[in-house]
């Protein structure tokens, strides 16, 4: 194996390690980000629904 190939193999090993380390961190932290995103959106939708109900009751026949 010549030195040029060896250099590329070392760079490949570093790049691959970085890729899988980032993937592992993202897998753990991303799941909590995902939960926050969905919880936040659900809360907004519920809030909008409540506002619509209040509006409907104030302009309704009663």
């Amino acid at each position: 194996m010549n030195s040029a190939v060896l250099i590329w193999i070392i760079i490949f090993a570093l790049a691959t390690t970085c890729f899988f380390v980032v993937a592992a961190i993202v897998a753990v932290k991303g799941s909590s980000d995902l939960r926050d995103l969905l919880r936040d959106s659900k809360a907004r939708i519920d809030e909008q629904g409540q506002r619509a109900n209040v509006k409907a009751s104030t302009i309704g026949p009663g």
Partner: protein, 495 residues
């Protein structure tokens, strides 16, 4: 081939789960902002997962694998250039921070803020054209990949293409960016696991000395030195670096992740952290391509070699996970791209032809309609079109139709006060000329006069597009400062 019953079960369960999640997430789409940019609530880790999943599809594995097979280790330079480009954009916030601050949903929206509605229309049309042409070969390569890995033969390619398109269009149309973000996350995790399995399986089958010998015997110095390789050289390196910077900041599917971020600071962090894995994203499939050369020899079809290798070396059971990972990768790419191009067609082309905007409801329905139309186009185009040169170069040259002009328009629009609408028109059109000419005349290379043959060199056309766009912006703007005074971004935003 090793694909057995267990692999099929894993694959079917995975596909059913993905579709289920796509349907389930639909309930979180409350309005257009939710549909297009997930309410701008995406945090760093989720942003990294979604940008990675968008930028890695079966097509990515195919074109990088093909490069590894036909150029050896020399192509690894592309991974380093990609990492450097994303790092630069992330660290400096080049373009993305400003776009996020102005809260645009598509890049051409910025053209209207800074230049005019007509610039937005033309920019949107060029972006749509370049984007859909760029995506045109995805399905075919996915079909080749899956038919080789599953051992189904060429006759299965069309069936695979139709099935994939139906699944992806369905969940993208229903859930928009929410579906994209949620399924991207799941898909990135499965995909990374699949990549790990494939790499380990290859290393069990082949040692590094075998790979080294195969490359040096087949290519000599050109297999390890990108400057000595006839496909690469300095011009290629400069073009790919500039192109990667432009694509990182302006390619709608990845830029939309910055636009969906919680803040400009989060957008910068997403790009910086994602850059750390961009070298691996390219080098891992390139390594598989080199391994295919070592195991199968140099006489296999360059597109089929890498998937054939994976089908041979990955053990039963794990192959199902690998294919699920690859499909995951592809589906996340398709959904992000479909959403990006259909949003551009709706908001930046069709809506710009009218004097008043569409309602949110109509906009969402139009985006869904365009996603279906693009899906059908991809099927037809994928079956009919034969790519010139390598898939990698086709993707970069079609991307340049848009990115060259867009880089001129957006970078100058943000950082150069003298940029005006005439400069923007000139940059957009001149940026598209060289790559479009390449695609049109490449097949008739022999019939061209000798002084025009340079345009059929993909590296020259690619680099030329950025030079022309930049020149067009500077000359066009400077010559027309009096008749078309520049509009200051802040003034336009507040009026």
């Amino acid at each position: 081939m090793n694909f057995g019953y267990l692999d099929w079960i894993i694959l079917v369960v995975y596909l059913a789960l993905t579709l289920g999640v796509g349907f389930w997430v639909k309930r979180y789409v409350e309005n257009l902002r939710g549909y297009m940019v997930a309410n701008r609530r995406v945090k760093v880790a989720l942003g990294v997962a979604t940008i990675e999943a968008t930028e890695i599809g079966v097509i990515t594995f195919m074109y990088f694998g093909e490069l590894g097979y036909v150029t050896g280790f020399a192509c690894f330079i592309i991974g380093i250039l990609g990492m450097f480009a994303y790092m630069l954009v992330g660290k400096t916030g080049f373009i993305i921070a400003a776009l996020r601050r102005h809260e645009v949903m598509t890049i051409p929206e910025f053209y209207e803020l800074r230049y005019s509605r007509r610039v937005r229309l033309i920019g949107g049309f060029i972006l749509f054209l370049g984007g859909v042409l760029n995506m045109g070969i995805f399905l075919k390569f996915d079909g080749i990949f899956l038919s080789e890995v599953l051992g189904l033969g060429e006759q299965a390619i069309v069936v695979i293409m139709v099935a994939m398109m139906v699944i992806v269009v369905t969940y993208t149309v229903l859930g928009g960016m929410f579906s994209v973000v949620v399924t991207d996350f799941i898909q990135f995790v499965i995909l990374a696991f699949g990549m790990l399995i494939a790499t380990v399986a290859i290393l069990f089958k082949l040692d590094l000395v075998q790979l080294s010998t195969a490359v040096t015997q087949q290519f000599g110095a050109a297999g390890v030195n990108p400057l000595a390789n006839p496909r690469f050289g300095w011009m290629f390196i400069v073009w790919v670096l500039v192109s990667n910077i432009a694509a990182a900041a302006l390619w709608q599917p990845s830029a939309s992740k910055a636009l969906a971020s919680e803040s400009p600071e989060v957008a910068k962090k997403v790009f910086t952290y994602a850059s750390l894995s961009f070298a691996g994203r390219a080098m891992i499939p390139m390594f598989w391509g080199v391994a295919a050369l070592a195991l199968l020899g140099p006489n296999v079809s360059s597109t089929a070699a890498m998937p054939r290798l994976l089908g041979l070396v990955t053990p039963r059971g794990f192959l199902g996970l690998l294919v699920a990972g690859m499909l995951a990768a592809s589906m996340s790419t398709y959904s992000a791209y479909l959403l990006a191009w259909s949003s551009v067609a709706t908001r930046d082309v069709v809506a710009c032809l009218r004097s008043t905007d569409f309602s949110e409801r109509t906009t969402i329905w139009l985006i869904r309609g365009f996603a279906i139309v693009i899906g059908v186009f991809l099927l037809v185009f994928g079956l009919w079109y034969q790519i010139p040169d390598t898939a990698y170069q086709y993707l970069f040259i079609t991307g340049a139709i848009y990115t060259a002009g867009a880089l001129g328009c957006v970078a100058a629009g943000i950082y150069w006060p003298k940029a005006n609408s005439v400069g923007a028109y000139t940059a957009l059109i001149m940026g598209a000329v060289a790559p479009a000419s390449f695609l049109l005349v490449e097949r008739w290379r022999e019939a061209l006069p000798s002084w025009l043959v340079f345009i059929t060199d993909v590296n020259v056309s690619g680099l030329l597009s950025f030079v022309l766009a930049c020149t067009g912006m500077i000359v066009g703007s400077l010559l027309t400062q009096k008749i078309r005074p520049p509009i200051k971004l802040q003034e336009k935003m507040t009026t």
